[in-house]
Symmetry: C2
Subunit: 191 residues, 2 copies
């Protein structure tokens, strides 16, 4: 079993050693080169992805043809269009590798079988989704309460390494501003 | 065991009849009169709430002293400040009964004990949080892509009964507009 996912699982629940050996066969290890798509908008979404190493962005195509990034995922995060994943429907989002990205992918059907064989993992998924939802509540608070400039400063203060890591045009999209305006905000900070 | 929660649980996981009898002692049944607070911003958040009947809003106090509603919960939804709940820290949000509201409350400690005794419930919480997170992804997409007016029309089309149910000043806050602007949007629709 991949050590990154194994550590993440064991941080959140107890699984017996003989059950851990079972896990491997349920996941598919893949590497996506930079800019490759893990999921395309409109495609049936039957997988979710655990990021072992790398970074992805979740985005959709706006009516004017530009891509709107609404979230990123890095190491130790799960990413997918979770509504489409649970309903086995067409995805409303695409997911792209921002860097060369190694993932473990699991299909909905495989996850159902895995949870039947290792039910302890439900607690792992309960905790990871509770955390993700909790983060979404705070994200909504920020979106309501902060100006775009304040949002940038907030993320820059909280996640400085991440802000440096992602391409600035994607960061601008995530913040809901143009890359030019992001440059202005950053210049203002320096001057 | 309360029938509303029982049905909700059995929709998402299998629990043996003798285990179901256990559940009752872990939850506290409460009725909050209209406008009463279930949780106050700044207060340690040690509970989450399942709405049996009624409606609550999750909000925070903006710097200008007004209340910003970021979410509602109705029958069959869980509500809390989930970051504060899982970390046992001060809440960033308040929760108020929009109508007289009946809930089942459970503390973090009681939930841990419950999941030890009835581990099947982890799958119930996994599925409910996955759905909540999936809804948050779609909510983020709407916030990025829609104007305030389009947001109103979207919610009005998707959830017409709910839009009628909540006080219009709270709906305006949730949409991020003034009550006056909400009236204008609604008038425009009729004319």
């Amino acid at each position: 079993m991949n050590n990154v996912l194994l550590s993440h699982i064991l941080n959140h629940c107890s699984v017996k050693p003989d059950q851990l050996d079972l896990l491997d066969s349920f996941f598919e290890y893949r590497i996506y080169k930079k800019n490759k798509l893990l999921l395309s908008e409109g495609q049936r979404c039957h997988e979710k992805f655990f990021i072992i190493k790398g970074c992805t962005n979740l985005f959709y195509l706006k009516q004017n043809g530009t891509e709107q990034t609404i979230d990123f995922a890095i190491e130790n995060w799960w990413t997918s269009d979770f509504m489409a994943f649970q309903q086995n429907t067409a995805s409303q989002f695409s997911i792209r590798a921002v860097e060369t990205t190694a993932v473990l992918a699991i299909t909905y059907e495989q996850q159902c079988k895995l949870l039947q064989q290792v039910p302890e993992l439900s607690e792992y998924f309960h905790r990871t989704f509770q955390r993700a939802y909790a983060a979404a509540q705070i994200r909504l608070k920020l979106l309501y309460g902060y100006s775009k400039e304040e949002l940038y400063h907030h993320f820059n203060q909280k996640f400085p390494a991440f802000i440096q890591r992602v391409p600035q045009y994607l960061l601008a999209s995530f913040l809901g501003i143009t890359p030019e305006y992001l440059s202005e905000i950053k210049k203002k900070r320096i001057s």
